[in-house]
């Protein structure tokens, strides 16, 4: 094969702005998303797929709730706590939501510190995020055990439609599993950051590829997604 025409790798071709730029990116070679790494692209596409899973869960729950002929238990009654003699509806859910949204904040700060190569701060912020996540799962466990003690089961409950319990355990359980996996990922990545793996180019245990600080942002994408999904669960399950 004859020698290919060489263009210096440092040179980047000028690209038009706006919609024309979008079209030119998709019409170009090598990459459709010009400044997106493989890992980030993969995470976005995975999250799109995961959106469909949660979407199907929520739609199934909504169709069950709309179709049922027996009364649906009132969420603000069911999820109320007695605190110092006062009857506060949805208080635990409010705290849980607050904790999870705060964790998104610390995650965003961790991403920022990661790109500034501040190993210590990044690791600490990721650990705080993981701690918030674990707190959330802990409170969910408390909520589950409270409901179970009150007689809510996947196949029935004292107040009305059986689908209440089944949807509740299924959707919050699936979301809680996501949070748990997120906490585990956060701990693993935080350890790598702390140890300086991304500065020393240490190779991954499984993949034997060098990691980069970008993995902090990719973990962050997942974390924010799990957070966003909770907002929808909160709106459709607890506030409806």
């Amino acid at each position: 094969m004859s020698a290919p025409i060489k263009t210096p790798a440092a040179e980047t071709l000028p690209r038009p702005a706006g919609l024309a730029g979008l079209a030119s990116d998709w019409a170009s070679d090598q990459r459709a998303f010009k400044h997106v790494s493989w890992g980030k692209a993969m995470m976005w596409i995975f999250l799109l797929s995961d959106t469909f899973i949660f979407g199907c869960f929520l739609l199934a729950y909504m169709s069950a709730r709309m179709a049922t002929t027996v009364p649906w238990p009132n969420p603000s009654e069911v999820f109320a706590l007695e605190i110092a003699g006062a009857h506060v509806p949805l208080i635990l859910i409010a705290i849980m939501t607050f904790v999870l949204i705060s964790s998104s904040g610390t995650m965003a700060m961790a991403v920022n510190c990661g790109y500034r190569r501040d190993r210590r701060k990044t690791a600490i912020l990721m650990l705080i995020t993981a701690l918030f996540g674990a707190t959330f799962v802990g409170m969910q466990a408390f909520e589950w055990s409270k409901l179970i003690a009150e007689g809510v089961r996947p196949w029935g409950n004292p107040w009305g439609a059986a689908q209440f319990g089944s949807s509740f355990f299924m959707i919050t359980g699936f979301h809680g599993t996501h949070v748990t996996f997120g906490v585990i990922f956060l701990l693993i990545i935080a350890r790598k950051v702390w140890r300086g793996d991304f500065d020393t180019e240490r190779r991954g245990f499984f993949t034997s590829r060098k990691g980069r600080y970008e993995i902090v942002e990719i973990t962050g994408l997942y974390w924010h997604f799990v957070d966003l999904v909770w907002v929808f669960i909160f709106a459709f399950f607890y506030l409806w």
Partner: protein, 592 residues
């Protein structure tokens, strides 16, 4: 003459993607078993898929033996019959066709055709295969579990799927089936993310999306669809598993079983149907689109002519992919729905015929005045066009509500979908194996055995499914263990059924010739050389055949043109490879 599409003279864009760090195996185990090389993973996927497909083939024999000669074989009682049809359908659709097209051909062809060294995440790619294998093993385990596999029909409709009247409903069958599907979806997602990111973000210099071979377009679009459609099946499986194991009532209405009121109540079986078909209809195109793409390349290469209307072909693939998400309820016309919905879904269904017909016209127009070589891949491609048109036309019948209602649940439906998503894609799979086997092994498949395989399979498949339309039109229902004394069933139906069964046995046996050919040619096949079909696409331009680890040796390929420069006027050869800079310099002196 300079080809306007080749962009000669333009400065090449700079290299944007850094060279991948490949995992270099050190032992036999990491090289051939726990391999992270997409080519090995592809062969593992394909071998597993074909192996489990053979099980489904034997099941189809047993089904046909019962239908053709009812009551002759004691082995096939009613329960087993339902288990056989269920497992036959599920294995063929998911564990064979989906896995072979995406996991097999996707893994082998995507990195080679886009000019990459490997998939972007080789480790996840390897996991994808092993999880798929686990799913297959769980599925196989259900054959040996107490009560046997599920007999709910491949659509697994509740409530019958989890009741004691259905084989496996109150035993292990349905549980293992659902677990196997969930595992399959997890494994597929790992592979699917790889295929999508590799196509979007890992192409060679000069390889724009509109220079991709249509094979890659088909597999890519199908993978995107699978990533969006499998979630619905995943959710449906999880919910049914809870209904079966935890006693929830997502899909279970109040129901009396064996004179006993069950604990269930308030669930919606229709909800399952919606979730299932939101997956199930795109699934048809997840199987069909890779076949569309591959057959385009086969026809173009073996007719030595550029594909007619390349851009139209690409957009047709994308539009079919999009439309297939809003047609699912045409599988549910008889389930009961608002007539306006029926109208909507019938309309969208019939609209899909437009891009599909465009594709068929373009295939035929590519053949028109082409230099057609009747090689084995071309024969199978032609067989695909014929069977696909046949199955597509009966699809127009079934897409209309009023025509569908009397035809629903008859053998006409069975004939239709076997023609359109069974026989047609399988024809493409055979053609593709005959086409790419020389690249994968370095040897040609035996031509004589291939001709025997082709003619028996093609004519035999027609002889099976064409009469089946008639059987359905006279009203013979599908999924009936035996017809018994029904006045409307003519004697000719019984004769035809026997004929179909004999043909099914013959066609099935012909596949042994094919398998023998695959093994025999490994050692004894004619040496293929690097590019036996004189094809343009990148996988034929690798420095070694079979391609080595990393595909391209030291230098990544650079792409200068689209994939269809066949018989370009003025060029010294009748094909110009995609990585050939100037058409005039092709030839012996230029290659040296």
């Amino acid at each position: 003459m300079v080809d306007v599409r080749s962009g000669i003279g333009e400065a090449l864009p700079p290299l944007e993607v850094e060279d991948v760090e490949l995992y270099h195996p050190h032992s036999w185990w990491t090289r051939y078993v726990f391999s992270q090389d997409a080519k090995i993973i592809a062969i593992q996927y394909a071998t597993t898929a074909i192996a489990i497909g053979m099980v489904a083939l034997v099941l189809s024999w047993l089904i046909r033996l019962q239908l053709g000669f009812p009551g002759t074989f004691e082995l096939i009682d009613a329960e087993r019959y339902y288990q056989f049809i269920t497992m036959h359908g599920m294995i063929m659709v998911i564990y064979l066709l989906t896995a072979l097209f995406l996991g097999g051909f996707g893994n082998y062809l995507i990195p080679l055709m886009v000019g990459a060294r490997d998939m972007v995440f080789p480790y996840a790619n390897m996991l994808s295969y092993w999880i798929y294998l686990l799913a297959v093993l769980v599925l196989v385990a259900s054959f040996f579990a107490p009560g046997g596999p599920t007999g709910a029909g491949w659509t697994l409709y509740p409530p019958q799927a989890v009741l004691s009247g259905t084989p496996g409903g109150k035993d292990w069958g349905i549980i293992l089936m659902l677990f196997s599907l969930i595992i399959f979806i997890i494994g597929f997602t790992m592979g699917g993310l790889n295929y999508v990111v590799t196509v979007l973000q890992g192409r060679a210099r000069g390889m724009t999306l509109m220079r991709l071979p249509l094979t890659v377009w088909g597999i890519f679009t199908a993978t995107v669809m699978a990533l969006l459609a499998f979630p619905a099946l995943f959710v449906a499986c999880v919910m049914m598993l809870f209904d079966r194991l935890l006693g929830t009532s997502f899909f279970m209405p109040a129901i009396v079983e064996m004179g006993e009121q069950l604990q269930h109540g308030g669930g919606s079986p229709i909800l399952f149907q919606h979730l299932f078909w939101f997956f199930g209809h795109p699934e048809v195109y997840i199987v069909a689109l890779p076949a569309f793409g591959i057959v385009s390349d086969l026809i173009s290469t073996h007719a030595r002519k550029n594909i007619f209307g390349y851009r139209m072909m690409v957009w047709a693939i994308v539009i079919i992919g999009g439309l297939s998400f809003i047609v699912w309820a045409h599988h549910m016309y008889v389930s009961g729905m608002n007539p306006y919905f029926g109208f909507f879904f019938a309309t969208t269904t019939l609209i899909i015929a437009v891009p599909t017909a465009i594709k068929v016209y373009n295939w035929v127009l590519t053949l028109w005045r082409g230099n057609i070589h009747l090689t084995l891949p071309m024969l199978f491609a032609l067989a695909f066009i014929v069977t696909f048109v046949n199955g597509g036309l009966t699809g127009l019948f079934l897409g209309n509500v009023v025509v569908d209602v009397p035809l629903s649940d008859t053998m006409f439906v069975v004939a239709h979908f076997h023609m359109v998503m069974g026989v047609a894609p399988i024809m493409v799979i055979f053609g593709a194996i005959y086409h790419w086997y020389p690249k994968i092994t370095g040897r040609m498949l035996n031509e004589v055995l291939g001709q025997i395989h082709f003619w028996v399979t093609f004519i035999g498949a027609y002889a099976i499914f064409f009469p089946m339309h008639y059987v359905g039109l006279v009203g013979v229902p599908r999924r009936y263990y035996e017809l018994g004394e029904m006045a409307f069933v003519a004697d000719s139906v019984h004769t035809l059924n026997a004929f179909i069964s004999v043909m099914a046995l013959i066609v099935g046996a012909a596949q042994i010739v094919f398998l023998f050919n695959l093994v025999w040619s490994l050692r004894h096949g004619r040496d293929a050389g690097g590019n036996p079909w004189r094809a343009t696409t990148l996988e034929w331009q690798t420095p070694e055949t079979p391609p080595s680890h990393g595909n391209w040796g030291k230098e990544l390929p650079v792409v200068y043109r689209w994939a269809y420069d066949y018989s370009v006027p003025g060029a010294p050869e009748d094909f110009i490879p995609q990585n050939q800079p100037t058409p005039g310099r092709l030839g012996h002196e230029a290659i040296s």
